[in-house]
Symmetry: C2
Subunit: 343 residues, 2 copies
Amino acid sequence: MDPKSNPSISIREVAAAARVSVATISRVLNSKGPIHPDTRRRVLEVVADLGYVPHSGARSLSTRQTSSVGVILPDVYGEFFSELIRGIDLGAKRAGYHLLVSGSHSDPAEVDALLRALHGRVDGLIVMASTRNAGAIRIPPGVPAVFLGDSPASGSHPSMRVDNAGGARAVADHLLDLGHRRIAVVSGSAENSDSEARLAGFRAALSGRGVDLDPELIVSGDFREESGRAAALALAKLENRPTAIFAANDAMAIGCLSALRELGLSVPEDVALAGFDDVPIARYLSPPLTSVRVAIAEMGERAMARLLAGLEERGAEPLEETIPAVLVVRASTAGRKDLLGSE
Amino acid sequence: MDPKSNPSISIREVAAAARVSVATISRVLNSKGPIHPDTRRRVLEVVADLGYVPHSGARSLSTRQTSSVGVILPDVYGEFFSELIRGIDLGAKRAGYHLLVSGSHSDPAEVDALLRALHGRVDGLIVMASTRNAGAIRIPPGVPAVFLGDSPASGSHPSMRVDNAGGARAVADHLLDLGHRRIAVVSGSAENSDSEARLAGFRAALSGRGVDLDPELIVSGDFREESGRAAALALAKLENRPTAIFAANDAMAIGCLSALRELGLSVPEDVALAGFDDVPIARYLSPPLTSVRVAIAEMGERAMARLLAGLEERGAEPLEETIPAVLVVRASTAGRKDLLGSE
DNA sequence: CTGTCAACTGTAACCGGTTACACGTTGCGC
DNA sequence: GCGCAACGTGTAACCGGTTACAGTTGACAG
């Protein structure tokens, strides 16, 4: 028996074949209202025979819910996004929702067009805005949405962000504890708010303990490996070389590592190095990279959960939630073995 | 002026407000049929005033096309998938399509359920099957689909795959050219067809040049870093140690690298090492990793292009297309500088 | 025997668009 | 002055489901 599905037939044809009304078919398939066992059996049989598959578009129109949510991302690049999508997908699947994903949206006008095009396609939105357009994004009224990272000033929607400042502070404390005083930072672009938050948190932690960030030790990159490499090369050339480098993400840290090795500087003896994100390979580098772990997938899952909560009852207060960022110490900073984590 | 969009109003209300019929509204908005300039102006004005946004769900129902395509993936993990999605998204955007993405589908029954749920939501499908379920996936008749990697035996749909064998052959030739004869392979799981194809291609290339793969030098991993690490540790313990290792992907190669360094073996002097995928960080490892580059994003884009072609005209013959895999030589294998690529 | 009620099922009006067809106006050629 | 075409617009029937409301039937209490 091949249960071939046949998308081309409609509920009325099934009704005719089963000699009942369309209402009955619908009721059987959705387990609504009372149905005589015999009727149910017959309907189910016909449905299977014909390979009838309900048309969910039509269903959505009449029930006014699509059971799918839109995911709007500024970009789809690197491990961060697969993790994020994985988490969101997980949450969606659990609740029987589908994901309409769209990436590469830096232009606010583009996002606006997308938002219109999504009307009638999704029940809610998960939006990750880039700093450039966060302020300009207008979610249509009545559409539940959750923001990731930057959110529009309005504050009318729940949002969710990584504890960038906390993670950066942890790195700062760690480096200070190791005795470093001359510390460099390789930041992301100034437009990126994650990068800004990390830099700000780091700076604050240092000055909190009486250490100032020397402006000449702040180099900005773009979150890619190559920029980290360039930054490290520049930093190494300084006459008063830093003893430690904090890169605003792991990709740049890896670039730094590559440059340092090339220059014959050993890590952590000559220069200590820390990253942010804790990508899977961080622990396999040599030396293994000290980094800050953020549960990205979990963030996606939480975002979805909160969106679904917002979908069910319109009462939840807009709330900003923070995903913890925890320091993972590895050999790239720890001079002494006893400071090393077990991973 | 804030052009607030108001999702809650329908075309009939707009029609009433503009004192025309719904047909006229529809025609103006879709630039169909002849419309008097004055009418058009008035309609557009009212539309803007009211912030009317057409309900695309309803539109889909009546036009019988959703302008979105389903993307079914076995998993969403690592850089591979963000690249793939990025490519697909790019192609989709260009053509005005949306993406319904769903990951984590290893169970054929689950895929089947998903396929049903997608009926009426998408116009076509891009399916990446895992080896386990490829045979069991039944695309409903009449639904255009493109397969990535494994495809159902039927061969009734176009498919697209990476030239795993070619890439592996290139690695084999390269290692042989360097004089290696005792070469180990760290494969992925036997269930994974990419891994199998790489192993098979590698073996064939070796025997083509009179070198046999010693069974004790074939270790299977799972495509993750940790398994590469374990494999390298095991290989290094052998009394007749291999002089080169080919890992079926970069993540495992990175694991190998970590283990080798830990054992005090230098790469490539003691053991040469090559990976597959050419992830962005490959060139930043130390030593930079020889790998095989595959244009994943391009594959996604091509897949989308072919799907769209299939959507427009039902005539295209099912064809298997192969994405090239090119060897990128770096220091992890090249003993001699003159063999090094420039990247 | 009749009224009441529960259990089933059917009819038809939605959901919000698109579009075939019909209709009323003009303008123009003869 | 009349016929006819082109233009602009409206009416209403779809698309394929859901569901309020309205039966029909049979059991059972009064």
